[in-house]
Structure formats: C-alpha cells, structure tokens
C-alpha cells in the first residue's frame, strides 16, 4: 500500500480512525444511492401500473408488482429480435476487429514494412476527428461505396467495417506487441515459421490480456452506439435494441418503454459484472501510458 494524501497511520489512530470509518460509511451509502438507486427506480418503476407511477408521492416499492410492462415490452417491441440483432452485430464487429486490427497491429509492430509509420500516423490522426463531423460523409459513403457502388444500408457490414477503422484498438494492440521481445520473433523465423504462423502460435497466445480488453471494447461499443446504427440500419427488422426502443418510444406507454430499456441494459450489466476486472484495467492501461 503506497502512501496517499493522508497517511495510513493517521487513519488508524483515535480521531482519524473515527473520521475514516464515518466517511467511508457515508460514501458507501451515498454512492450506492446515486449509482444503483436510479437503476433500482427503473427496475421497480417498470413493475408499477400506469396509475401508480403517476402517483404522488411515488411509492418506494410497487404496491402491486406486475410483470405486464416487461412482457408487453418484450412482445410489442419484438425485443427478442432486437436483442438478437444487437448480439449479431456485436459478435461480427468483434470478429472483424480481432482479425483485421490484430493483423494490422502485428504488421506495424513486427513486420514493419516500408512507410508503416506513415500509415500508423494516418490511423492515429483519425482519433483527432470528432465522430459527428464525419457522420454525414460516412453515411453518404455507406449508401454508395466508392468504386464498387454498393449500398450497405441495412447490411451488417455497414456496422462491421467502420468498426475496424478503430485507431485506438490498433494502438493498444501494437503497443502490446512491441513489448514482446524481438528474439522470440527471430527464433520463430529461424525455425522457418511464416509470419502468419508466428502470429498465430507465438504472438497471439502471449497477448490474451490485451485481446480481452480489445474484445470488451468492441462489444460494448456496438451495444452502446446509437446514432450510427440508427442511420445505417433503418428497417424495423435490422434495428439494434437501443434504436428499436427509441423508435417505439413515441407511441408506447412510458412504463413499457422503461421496461424495454431495462431489458436492453441487462446484457451489458451482466457482461460488466463478469469482466469488470479486465474492463477497468483495460481502461486505465489504454489511457495512461499513451
């Protein structure tokens, strides 16, 4: 335990100890209320009837908890379909990013072809461009791909391919590959392994932690994204869950909309609780040393 603002010794003694435990208790209670409270309100609110939710003062626990809002949301919004779409897009984005971004980072880190640094710089430059600035020309590009003149509207490729153009992931992967000693590479080449085999059998098994981080980012990005899937997946059959809820929110009772929002949030929450260690370490690993 390193020394922080206040020394541990001071916190263990008399008044300091008393202060420390009081403050800790207050913070735990307040933070639980602030960060879990709204979620509790959301989940229980959607269990209330239309009249009960409009009642003043609001009830802390539903008087007559009912699942009808959740079942209505499930059927009216066809949530099974929306959730499946989102899973499918997230899985595809994950595969595309893992394959193409890993290959690119490997080339930039280990194979180092001529002008590799220029390519890396051009990729990193895209991090400086705000997403909203590109949204219109990107949309125009997707509805009429240059050279091929293909319209990708409603095709999952419209989500998967732009996801590959993720300079942050390439940067994370490249930096990790850079830390793998050069001798391992040359030994593999001496043994006659092709670059692909070296990547597959040597580099990738050593890179599990960073591959985990990149995978988590890839999946959560698709799950949380809103405007881009709203634009390129306009049909009711191809919508993501967030877009679907938004599209239905106009003509649907608010409790049903919130129930749908709860259902849409469950996968990410479960995902977070399972992978919280890698998510939180990945976040700081990527942002600090960069």
């Amino acid at each position: 335990m390193t020394r922080t603002l206040i020394s541990s010794a001071q916190m263990r003694r008399g008044r300091g100890k008393y202060m420390y435990w009081t403050l800790l208790t207050v913070v735990i209670v307040v933070f639980t209320l602030v960060f879990v409270g709204p979620l509790y309100w959301m989940v229980t609110g959607a269990l209330k009837s239309g009249q009960e939710i409009a009642q003043t003062p609001p009830t802390l626990w539903p008087e007559d908890p009912r699942l009808t809002n959740y079942t209505d949301a499930w059927h009216q919004l066809d949530l099974a379909k929306l959730l499946f779409n989102t899973f499918y897009y997230a899985a595809g984005a994950l595969v595309f990013q893992l394959v193409l971004d890993t290959a690119a980072a490997y080339a930039l880190s280990k194979l180092r072809p001529a002008f590799g640094n220029v390519i890396l710089a051009l990729m990193l430059a895209t991090l400086m461009i705000p997403a909203m600035v590109l949204i219109i020309p990107q949309y125009v590009t997707v509805i009429d791909l240059p050279i091929l003149h293909v319209n990708l509207l409603d095709s999952p490729l419209a989500l998967w391919l732009p996801a590959v153009a993720n300079a942050f992931n390439i940067f994370l992967l490249k930096r990790f590959f850079d830390s793998i000693p050069e001798e391992i590479m040359s030994a593999a080449i001496m043994d006659g392994a092709t670059p692909l085999r070296t990547l597959w059998s040597i580099i990738l098994p050593m890179s599990r932690p960073i591959l985990g981080v990149v995978s988590i980012f890839a999946v959560t990005a698709v799950w949380k994204d809103f405007l881009w899937p709203k634009l390129v997946m306009p049909s009711p059959e191809t919508r993501t869950v967030s877009v679907g809820i938004y599209a239905f929110s106009g003509g649907t009772p608010m409790n049903v909309v919130v129930a749908a929002a709860v259902i849409a949030a469950i996968p990410t929450i479960v995902f977070f609780l399972i992978f919280q260690k890698s998510i939180m370490s990945g976040l700081t690993a990527g942002s600090l040393k960069g």
Partner: protein, 318 residues
C-alpha cells in the same frame, strides 16, 4: 513445434533457394517481407481509407457542392451561408457552449474529487469502483429513458421532484423549463459518463510517489495544501488531457437532447450543433448543408485543440 510442421504451408516455408545469389536474395527477401507486411495491413487500411480518410475529404468537398435530383454542382459558399442563416444556428452554438461549460464545471471537477476521495479508502475499493463505473456500461438510450420518464417527470411523481419535495426545496419542471434543460442534461450526462474519468484519475493518483505527501506533511501542509501542491501538479498532464477530451466529447452533444428533449426541446433550449447536423442531413434533406456545419464544427474543435497544444507546450517550456 510439432503443430507447426504438421499444419504449416510447405510451399511458403521452403521459400526461394537461399545459398547461391546472396545479394539479390536479400533484396527480394526485403520486398517479400514488405509485401507480407502490406498483406497483413490491407484489411484495416481499406476500412480506414473507405470509412475515415475518404469521408474526411468527402465532407469538405460536399460542403461546397449541392446535389439536387442526382445532379451535383459546385456552389461555392452557398451551403455555409444557408446553414449560418438557419434561425437555430446561433442558438445551437450557444447551447452547445453552455453545455460544454456546465459539463466542465460539474462533469470535470466531480470525477477528480471523487477519485481523490476513493484513493484514500483502504476498504471497499472494488465495490466503490464498480458502482462508479456501472452507469458507463448502460446503453445511453436506456439510461436516458430512465431520466426522461422517471427522474425528470415534471409532476411531483418524478424521482427528482419527490426528493426535492421531501427536502422542502422548490420543485422544477426540468425538461419543460427552458432554464433547467441544460443543467438537467449535464446531470444525466455526468451520471452516465463520469465513471471512466474517475478510473483514469485513480490510476494517475496511484502513480504519485508517496514521499511527496510525506515531505509536504513534514513541512506542515494540511490536506488542502497537499492537494493543491502535490496532487494537482503531479496529475497536471492527465488533467489537461482529460479536459481536452471532455471538451471535444461534450461539444458533440447529441443523444441527450434527442431523447430527453425530443431534439430541440422547449423553444430550442436543447438544440445542439450535432443535432442540427442530424436535422439538416436527415430531415431537411440537406446533406450538403449538414456537411458544411460538420466542417464548421471541425474548425472550431480544431481551434480548441490548437489552443490546447499551444498552452500545454508553453507550460512545458517554463
């Protein structure tokens, strides 16, 4: 090794005959290794080219063109004129700057203070971190519907109004009042996004050498002096970087007005620049005007980045 020989492609492994022509062999090998490198880069580079580099140029080109009935003509600065004369143009910028400023006051200071606080605790560290980060994982649309329907309900049945009433404070109309629209959006946005900043600050705080605090304490510096003279100077770099990132992120305010305020809000009180881009591009069928507004936004944010780089590099010199 057994797997390598068992599955490897023999044709490639054997390669060109090596011993005789050494010099020529080295050059062909370099070309070959370059080609292999490009082959690995190809997929990602194509995606960058089609979905990032090309749209960047295309956006600028589009902003000087007009497409009507499939015919594209050069129109000079017409799109810019039209977009600047949009009655919502200045309101949108005013709102966006207001949101950015409010978010800097609330959304920037709060995560740093929370991180300083959390860093002092010896217990429940994991739990508190999970709590703070939990909203970051929610799909923004889900979180915003929660705020819209339950928290910002303008009647006394809403969560916030119920709390305010319980505390005997005046209640608010939230999204229906023009003055509370922006603060309400900043509260929602901060709640949703602060977790990431807290964790980044926590990691930075853990890198501060403990001896600095010890030395400050020996010199008689109290807690606030220690924060001012040790914590802030030691995290200056990450603090200024996060300020920049936050400005760029908040200037792109979009989903909060779209869901909380149905886009424009009461009397345009929620219209943001990003929303105006969306509005022009997809409702007014004016992709060229929207592209022009995108370019204006790029210039403004580029200006911010430029000032930031100038300020930080000057600080390093002194």
């Amino acid at each position: 090794m057994a797997t390598i020989t068992a599955q490897g492609k023999p044709a490639k492994v054997s390669g060109p005959p090596r011993p005789p022509a050494r010099r020529r062999g080295r050059r062909t090998r370099r070309i070959q290794s370059n080609l292999t490198g490009y082959a690995f880069l190809l997929g990602a580079v194509v995606c960058f080219a089609v979905f990032s580099w090309y749209p960047m140029i295309r956006g600028i080109v589009m902003s000087f063109q007009r497409t009507r009935r499939g015919e594209t003509t050069w129109v000079g600065w017409d799109n810019y004129e039209r977009i600047v004369n949009d009655p919502s143009f200045w309101t949108a910028w005013k709102n966006t700057f207001y949101f950015t400023a409010l978010a800097l006051i609330l959304g920037y200071a709060v995560p740093f203070l929370v991180a300083i606080l959390l860093n002092e605790f010896r217990h429940a560290k994991g739990y508190l971190r999970i709590l703070v980060y939990l909203p970051v994982m929610l799909p923004p649309a889900s979180a915003l519907f929660l705020f819209k329907y339950y928290a910002y309900d303008p009647s006394d049945a809403g969560l916030f109004n119920a709390i305010l009433k319980f505390l005997h404070l005046p209640t608010s109309e939230w999204m229906q009042s023009t003055t509370m629209t922006m603060p309400a959006m900043v509260i929602a946005s901060t709640w949703m996004n602060m977790g990431a900043a807290v964790l980044i600050y926590l990691a930075a705080l853990q890198n501060i050498p403990g001896e600095l605090y010890e030395a400050a304490e020996v010199d008689g510096a109290g807690i606030w002096r220690r924060i001012w003279n040790v914590t802030i100077p030691q995290t200056k770099l990450i603090l200024s970087l996060m300020a920049m990132l936050q400005i760029v992120a908040t200037m792109q305010l979009f989903i909060e007005p779209l869901i909380l305020a149905n886009g424009a809000g009461t009397q345009d009180s929620a219209t943001s620049v990003a929303y105006l881009i969306y509005q022009h591009g997809f409702f007014q069928n004016d992709l060229n005007g929207a592209a022009a507004l995108g370019v204006i936004m790029l210039v403004v944010l580029g200006g911010f980045s430029f000032v930031y780089v100038r300020l930080t590099s000057r600080q390093d010199e002194t």
